[in-house]
Amino acid sequence: MSDVITLAHGAGGKQTAELIDSVFKAHFANPEFTGDDAAILSLGGQDLAFTTDGFIVSPSDFPGGNIGKLSICGTVNDLSCMGAQPLYLACAFVIEEGLPMSDLERYAAAMEKTAAEAGVRIVAGDTKVAGKGQVDRLFITTTGIGRRLPGVRLSGTEAKPGDAVIVTGDIGRHGCTVLLSREQFGIDADVTSDCAPLWGTVKSMLGVTQDIHVIRDATRGGVGTVLYEIAAQSHVGIRLDRAAIPVAPAVSGVCGMLGLEPLYLACEGRLVVFAPQAQADAIVTALRQGPYSGNAAIIGTVTAEHAERVTIRTEIGAETILPPPGGELLPRIC
């Protein structure tokens, strides 16, 4: 482990997991400490889901959303992935001195709108102002609590051989959008972030069947990172079909130019779902009626062999391994 924090520690891959294990878990370990998106706490006979998430996106405005909308979606989706209806949020702002008031107003309005859509109330908050240059415009942290639906048991450890692997929409749009918004690479494409609150999406699936094993939102690190996480947590293999993975053409074009793998581009409105094969078609049919999951697709299956590996059936019908998440996403020319 390196002796200073590097960007790779925040990329959501192996280094992030190492950091959590060696520092946070070492100090915080307790029976409720979770490897899932939210902890499940039993209080007064009810199962509550509880989680928190920090947002530092740069730029803070991008096609399809802004940091305000993102800060609500992130926490709402973490709760939703546990099968918990999001109820209340708290938010903390760290604001750089000099931020235009109108910008803050815009982010707050986006938070209000998204919270209303997700059916949550923002009930507490905190404001700090940092000196110029100490933060990049503003950082938002949201903390949320939700009530788990009775009978639902979702966890990253529950994927079973034979399960179908479903994504709720085309992948990598948020990561691609933010990458292009930084204008670092001079590439222009008509791509908007997939950023969306997904409680409705989860509810629609649980309305079809409660026999769903895992739901996880593919945020930083993208779908590929989630698949490797689940493969490890459930000790199973995952076999994908390259041709079945939905990717918008422009996202493919950007990835081709920069030598990136779309499976590792961040999403902020996409879920990865593991459910028994028998339920898969009905789940996908229901998803395709929803506002944020019109191009949901079955992209693979869970296997007993190749445990903790993600393999891919390629364009030419051969089998290969999806390279594990590699930390910081770097464009390459070779």
Partner: protein
């Protein structure tokens, strides 16, 4: 014909029953795509596919990274680089490590973007880490000419550019046939390949899609058993016999040959390109009087043997133990297309 056209190449490759053959894909992007498509899984045991040195990142010696870090930390320069170089280990640290310690490192998609960055930040010295083969180097030449024409004086190159012909010569005993890198040959044309054939060295110019890779392999596996040296351009939709005349002119206008070190292979005479003396103002080594840096690799690292095809990644004592994609020791592990990284990430042939 019972086999559909589109499956013919694959059929020829999978049903090969000729003598044992070593095929070296010289280009790192070929290595990458071959793994990504799962083509290795299709090859019969008689076909040995060796990953050659054609990844500019893999062959960039640690001393080059040391020079870049020196420029960033000691001279306060902004380093502009292709993303590929960020994690390459220098003697003591990588650019990613240096960045955590305050070095300004900017990832760019093109050398021309580095000139733009310099134009927009006139108060800063901007150094572009110029690696690459004949495909990539014309872009560096264009960048220098653009900086000169626009009077941008805060831009310079730290060069480690390399040329392929000397490497083909150096590696000719390691393989029975080369898959020539399509995009190098797009600039340089195919004269060199014809010359190598006359010297008894076989190869085919190869494109990068699954169809193109399989077709090139099918051609090699059909020609090889005939026992005569062969050459075929299997990528004529991009590669012409003459190549890009403008590109070649540009290279000789701005750059000249020099001896250069290849990580693992040592110094190969006249296999590098550096700026001509009249462009010294854009040469970071001259501009900042960079002291000589020899760099030091881990002595147990077998990158050199791997690049020559003398050793497989799992045979290196460091592979997968101290040397992993997260903590690379040798450059073959750093680049995603490096032979070791590809073996590690795609699990070698274990599927």
């Amino acid at each position: 014909m019972s086999i559909e056209k589109k499956d013919l190449a694959r059929h020829i490759v999978t049903s090969y029953a000729g003598p044992k053959i070593r095929i070296m894909e010289v280009c790192g992007t070929h290595t990458h795509e071959i793994f990504r498509y799962g083509i290795r899984q299709l090859l019969p045991p008689a076909v040995d596919l060796i990953s050659g040195p054609g990844c500019p990142v893999c062959v960039t010696p640690p001393g080059f990274i040391d020079e870049a870090i020196y420029l960033a930390l000691e001279k306060g320069a902004v380093i502009c680089t292709f993303g590929d170089l960020i994690r390459v280990p220098g003697s003591a640290q990588s650019l990613a490590d240096a960045r955590s310690r305050g070095a300004a490192v900017q990832v760019v998609y093109s050398q021309l973007d580095a000139v733009k960055y310099a134009a927009a930040h006139r108060d800063k010295e901007v150094v572009f880490l110029s690696v690459g083969f004949e495909t990539t180097t014309p872009g560096a030449c264009l960048a220098v000419l653009q900086a000169r024409d626009e009077g941008i004086t805060n831009f310079s190159l730290l060069t480690a550019n390399k040329t392929m012909p000397q490497a083909y010569e150096a590696l000719k005993d390691s393989a029975d046939a080369f898959l020539y890198p399509g995009h190098v040959q797009a600039i340089m044309g195919t004269e060199i390949c014809e010359k190598l054939k006359a010297d008894g060295i076989s190869g085919v110019v190869t494109g990068f899609t699954a169809r193109e890779l399989l077709t090139a392999l099918a051609v090699v596996l059909t020609e090889f058993p005939k026992g005569k040296p062969f050459f075929k351009n299997c990528y004529p939709r991009v590669v012409t016999a003459a190549g890009s005349v403008s590109g070649q002119k540009l290279l000789s206008q701005v750059m000249e040959a020099c001896d250069t070190e290849w990580r693992g292979l040592g110094v190969i005479p006249q296999s590098g390109l550096t700026l001509r003396p009249e462009f010294a103002a854009y040469d970071a080594r001259v501009k900042f009087a960079v002291p000589p840096m020899d760099g030091r690799s881990n002595p147990a690292c077998r990158c050199g043997d791997i690049l020559r095809g003398d050793c497989r990644p799992p045979q290196c004592p460091l592979f997968g133990k101290v040397c992993t994609p997260e903590h690379p020791v040798g450059a073959c592990m750093v680049s995603r297309e490096g032979a070791c990284s590809a073996y590690y990430q795609y699990g070698g042939l274990t599927l």
